[in-house]
């Protein structure tokens, strides 16, 4: 009954405080999930780029992140000669120290150095925000978030493992949250990292009409000590690996966020029941059923949770846009599916939490209506 529900509404100031609390909690949860998705997206954007049909890895490695083995760089020449292979390029991945000097201060970051056959070999930057790919040994393309943290832009100089290089490109989709990518020619990265003649991966582009399973089997048969993965499998494995480090922490914080919102709603409805006992007693005396009152209170709880949740989701989207423009260091990728999932979770928890104070309705005596 609409008027019963209206009679049980909180006063606006109190309601907006609760909405603000729920909105903050949902913003926290959605932003955390979006951060994970943003980092994961960067891995996917790089690994799934055009032309990377097969990935050859050192023994035991089945993903792009966190591996320590290497391959002989000459393996690329052998692979290139196999039927069905259009191109095979070396990728050398090594952590590098990148620093800059700005207004007398020195900034330093440890970045994912990606050495590839610059400027147009396989495994280069997936997308540019500005500039171009490096074409000389002393040129680099840098993730734009890393560039911001280092305080550099196009044509500025950065020091990679102590050696100066000019920034010629700013890349996007290359931010893993905890670190970012820097691209340079493989020869330069090899010289800087001491991995001359080595490769972290070999990327294979298939010839038109060639089938990935056939070529992968061929490579596996010829070089039994290496791993060979098609693009979809390598993407999935890399995503799994990217999430493995974050998911437990994010899940823990998300549970705390949802729990905080649920407790807030329960507290609010509890306060509503306790502070409006006289009105509840009047409603009971006038003939309202306990079911009507419970329905009104749960409706109020749902209203607050939905309003707060939707507000939080909107703020998360706004935050993602603002961060992308102002502070791209934190890559938020807000997904509709994640948002709906979080909202559903908030509504379920908020509604369940309101059941506890609603159960206390049984303690309201209609006779309280007569007590002045």
């Amino acid at each position: 009954m609409r008027l019963v529900a209206k009679a049980l509404r909180n006063w606006p100031a109190r309601a907006w405080l609760a909405v603000g609390g729920v909105a903050t909690s949902s913003l926290l949860v959605i932003a955390l999930v979006a951060a994970l998705r943003g980092a994961s997206h960067s891995v996917v954007a790089y690994v799934s780029q055009d032309g990377a049909d097969l990935w050859i890895t050192p023994p035991g490695a089945d993903h792009f992140l966190r591996l320590s083995g290497v391959l002989p760089a000459v393996l690329a020449d052998s692979v290139r000669s196999l039927p069905g292979v259009a191109a095979a390029d070396v990728i050398l991945r090594a952590f590098v120290a990148v620093s800059s000097r700005r207004r007398g201060a020195r900034f330093r970051l440890t970045l994912y150095g990606i050495g590839y056959r610059a400027p147009d070999g396989l495994g280069g930057p997936p997308a540019f925000a500005a500039g171009r790919a490096p074409s000389k040994l002393r040129e680099v393309a840098l993730d734009r978030a890393a560039a911001r943290r280092l305080g550099v832009g196009l044509d500025d100089t950065v020091f990679v493992n102590g050696r100066g290089a000019r920034v010629v490109g700013l890349t996007t989709g290359t931010n893993l949250l905890v670190t970012q990518f820097i691209f340079a020619d493989a020869t330069a990265i090899a010289a800087l990292s001491g991995f001359a003649g080595r490769a972290s991966f070999i990327i294979v582009r298939l010839a038109p009409g060639a089938h990935s399973d056939t070529v992968a089997a061929q490579i596996g048969g010829r070089f039994p000590d290496v791993g060979v993965f098609d693009r979809a499998t390598f993407v999935a494995n890399s995503q799994r690996e990217a999430g493995a480090g974050y998911v437990p922490v994010l899940a823990f914080v998300d549970i705390l966020g949802v729990g905080a919102a649920a407790v807030l709603v329960a507290l609010l409805i509890h306060t509503l029941v306790e502070s409006r006992r006289a009105e509840l007693a009047v409603l009971l005396a006038l003939g309202a059923t306990p079911g009507m009152l419970a329905g009104g209170l749960i409706r109020e709880a749902t209203r607050l949770v939905v309003t707060g949740g939707v507000l939080g989701a909107g703020l998360a989207r706004l935050l993602a846009v603002v961060l992308d423009r102002v502070y791209p260091v934190i890559p938020l990728r807000v997904d509709w599916g994640d948002t709906l999932w979080v909202l559903a979770l908030f509504i379920a928890c908020g509604t369940l939490a309101s059941a506890i104070p609603v159960a206390r309705l049984g303690r309201v005596d209609p006779l309280e209506a007569f007590r002045a």
């Binding site: 009954m1 008027l3 019963v4 209206k6 009679a7 049980l8 509404r9 006063w11 006289a278 009105e279 009047v282 409603l283 005396a285 006038l286 003939g287 309202a288 059923t289 209609p366 006779l367 209506a369 007569f370 002045a372």
Partner: protein, 229 residues
């Protein structure tokens, strides 16, 4: 026609050392068109008697017949439905619902009594006109004076055309003029609608509007009347 009949009703409130016999073998009959004042000091049992009459409290002994139905024979849900249809309440502090306007407070009562939306609107308009409080309709309780609140409270008690109006100290918090207006509104309940009105009070200003006075002392209604009465 008898609207309310109490026969040998007793009720003890509380338990153990805190038990109080609020009503003792109380019998009372109120007919439609009557305005009966239940007069007694605080703690005499007035409120308990109203609550028993409305079916809000089940007596330990005795029988309550309300608008032709014995409340003891009804399930709690049926008793609640019967109460919503045939009883109107006027409380000491009006007890209007603060989030609703005066109009919505009265409309809600009509809806709880089972009226359709159109019927509820029509009856609400009618009672606001009868009590000359149309101008109060859009205001919230906090925007009303004590007397205005109580007049809206009377409208809420009357809107669904109840057979019995139960009023608990309806003028207790009001000054002289406001109290008189509310007393007249209560008298109008029986005059305009033919309702039986049972008023628990110790306010002498209500006496001129009563058709009968019933004293209550220590939960008993059957003690000999004094000279004054």
């Amino acid at each position: 026609m008898t609207v309310l009949l109490l026969e040998g009703v007793s009720k003890t409130r509380g338990t153990g050392a805190h038990a109080t016999r609020a009503l003792r073998d109380a019998s009372l009959s109120v007919a439609s068109g009557e305005v009966v004042l239940l007069e007694g000091a605080s703690g005499a049992g007035k409120t308990t008697l109203l609550a028993v009459a409305a079916g809000l409290v089940t007596p330990d002994a005795g029988r309550v017949v309300l608008a032709g139905r014995s409340l003891g024979d009804l399930s709690p849900a049926a008793r609640r439905r019967h109460r919503a249809r045939v009883v109107g309440f006027v409380f000491q502090r009006s007890n209007l619902l603060e989030r609703l306007t005066a109009w919505e407070n009265v409309l809600l009562m009509a809806q709880l009594a089972g009226r359709t939306a159109a019927e509820a609107r029509g009856e609400t308009e009618k009672v606001f006109a009868q009590l000359d409080i149309v101008h109060l309709a859009p205001r919230r309780p906090e925007e009303l004076s004590g007397g205005e609140e109580q007049r809206v409270g009377v409208a809420r008690a009357l809107v669904h055309g109840p057979a019995l109006v139960l009023a608990d100290e309806p003028t207790g918090n009001l000054d002289g003029a406001a109290g008189r207006v509310v007393a007249e509104a209560l008298a109008a309940c029986s005059r305009l609608r033919g309702a039986a009105v049972l008023v628990a009070t110790h306010d002498a200003r209500l006496a001129p509007f009563a058709t009968r006075k019933v004293p209550i002392v220590d939960g008993r209604l059957d003690f000999p009347p004094s000279d004054e009465q």
